[in-house]
């Protein structure tokens, strides 16, 4: 146990690999079953049953879908730009998954006297006696979520089809315009927290009854962030990049087989990340009653909050029709952006008067 690799004990590496594997598999399973939950919940909201045939109440549906997509024919259009066409799903998928690295999903777990923070990009320093994590965690997430746009734009462009191109264009325009308001909405949280480190932000929201959650101090910011995130991950009512009635399937029209599945996985992984982020920033992350005493409760609270927000996403999808393109742009630039700027100003003024 005392072997040191690059100045860190062996158990650090073991813990790290375990954390990565557990988190990755968790996200992967959540992504798979998010599709099932979506079909089931929307089904019941439309007084239908949803998938019922594959397994008990259709529980094996995501697996059947995966197998089906995996064995489908791989079609690469002859007029497409081959390299970009093949690389685009990967570019969309990878940022969607790696954003999860900085999200804390629990407190500090002690295994054989070694303290492991339940956050992939985190390290418990025994000398300093506290957790060190990526101190620009939020910035990293914003950067990665903007990287995801490249995958979609590339997919739209390289397919060499008008529907794909229009879908890609819409996606890029939409993601860029809503990322502004989303970024500005979280700025008001940083003004309260004074840090970009997600671990610190979660620690500041610790309270037995959750009264320290930033959603109570910044309800408008939560609303703005959630709405803008929905637009950023191309979910209804902002799913214009893949508006079926106009663009066939948007940027992924020409895609088939596993490459298509990868776009879908990226989409749902983005949904998981955005919901996890909203939970972390505004709903106190893994904090909850007794979470400090019993470490295992932390991840459970986190999962509960994450799943609740995902349910809200699905619920919104079942309720709202798609925005028209000009309405989308109007909402992004003329409503959400000024409101989020105003929110920052008000937060700043209130903060100034409280401190003086």
């Amino acid at each position: 146990m005392d072997t040191m690799i690059l100045g860190l004990p062996m158990i650090y590496y073991v813990a790290m690999i375990t954390k990565v594997l557990v988190a990755f598999i968790f996200v992967l399973l959540t992504v798979a079953y998010a599709t099932y939950a979506e079909r089931k919940i929307i089904g019941h909201m439309q007084v239908r049953l949803g998938p019922m045939r594959t397994g008990w109440h259709g529980l094996l549906q995501p697996i059947a879908d995966g197998v089906k997509l995996f064995f489908k024919e791989e079609i690469i259009p002859s007029s497409s730009s081959r390299f970009a066409f093949i690389i685009a799903p990967l570019i969309a998928l990878i940022p969607a998954f790696i954003t999860f690295a900085v999200i804390p999903f629990g407190g500090v777990m002690e295994v054989a006297g070694y303290k492991i923070p339940l956050q992939i990009a985190g390290y418990y320093d025994t000398v300093a006696g506290r957790i060190f994590d990526v101190n620009v965690g939020m910035l990293y997430i914003l950067a990665m979520s903007s990287l995801g746009v490249y995958g979609i734009v590339l997919a739209g462009w390289s397919s060499n089809s008008k529907y794909s191109l229009l879908g890609g264009l819409r996606a890029s325009a939409q993601m860029i315009s809503y990322e502004l308001s989303a970024g500005l909405a979280v700025v008001s949280v940083f003004m309260l927290s004074g840090t970009l480190s997600l671990h610190e932000i979660v620690m500041q929201q610790s309270a037995f009854n959750g009264m320290n959650w930033y959603i109570f101090k910044q309800p408008l910011a939560f609303f703005l962030f959630f709405v803008c995130s929905l637009a950023e991950i191309n979910r209804t009512p902002f799913d214009l990049p893949e508006a079926e009635s106009e663009l066939v399937s948007g940027f992924c029209t020409e895609y088939s087989s596993m490459k298509y599945a990868m776009f879908f996985m990226a989409e749902y992984a983005n949904m998981v990340t955005v919901c996890a982020l909203s939970a972390t920033l505004f709903l106190g992350g893994w904090q909850g009653p007794f979470a400090d005493t019993f470490t295992i409760l932390g991840p459970l609270y986190f999962i509960a909050k994450l799943y609740f927000l995902m349910f809200v996403c699905i619920w919104i999808r079942a309720t709202l029709p798609r925005y028209r393109y000009d309405q989308l742009m109007y909402l992004g630039w003329k409503v959400l952006l000024p409101v989020s700027l105003l929110n920052i100003v008000v937060t700043g003024l209130v903060g100034y008067f409280i401190s003086h």
Partner: protein, 134 residues
């Protein structure tokens, strides 16, 4: 009107519906209950182990789809009977006029509605096949 009220109203409606009992019928396992006067596959009625049909040709005459073929013959007792009685289920529109027209109550319609088949020939229901339907 403020833009949130309709959205919240809509969200409430969908949430209400989430807890309603789904109207879906799990068809192949869960069968629908057809009404007694449902117009499904035809059946020829029997009397004393013989088809009641006297081959009067009223049903092929009244049939708007011209799907019934009847050929009359004489049996050992010099009674008229239908030697051939065929209904082409591809042509049949299930209007029930044949049942209405029949003077001797020889034909009726059953509740059977799953009439899909693999070959065109299988859609021609002969007298034997129609008699089998009790």
């Amino acid at each position: 009107m403020n833009p949130f009220t309709p959205i919240i109203k809509g969200l409430k409606i969908t949430l209400d519906h989430l807890f309603k009992k789904p109207v879906t019928r799990q068809y192949p396992t869960e069968r629908p209950k057809v009404s007694p006067r449902f117009r499904g596959l035809h059946a020829l009625n029997m009397s004393h182990d013989k088809a009641k049909c006297v081959a009067c040709y009223l049903c092929p005459t009244v049939c708007p789809a011209k799907c019934i073929t009847v050929e009359a013959a004489e049996d050992a007792n010099h009674d008229k009977y239908a030697a051939v009685y065929e209904i082409d289920m591809i042509r049949c529109i299930f209007c029930g006029y044949c049942v209405e027209a029949c003077p001797v109550d020889a034909i009726r319609m059953t509740g059977e509605f799953e009439l899909a088949n693999y070959r065109r020939e299988d859609f021609i229901y002969t007298k034997e096949r129609l008699l089998e339907k009790k």
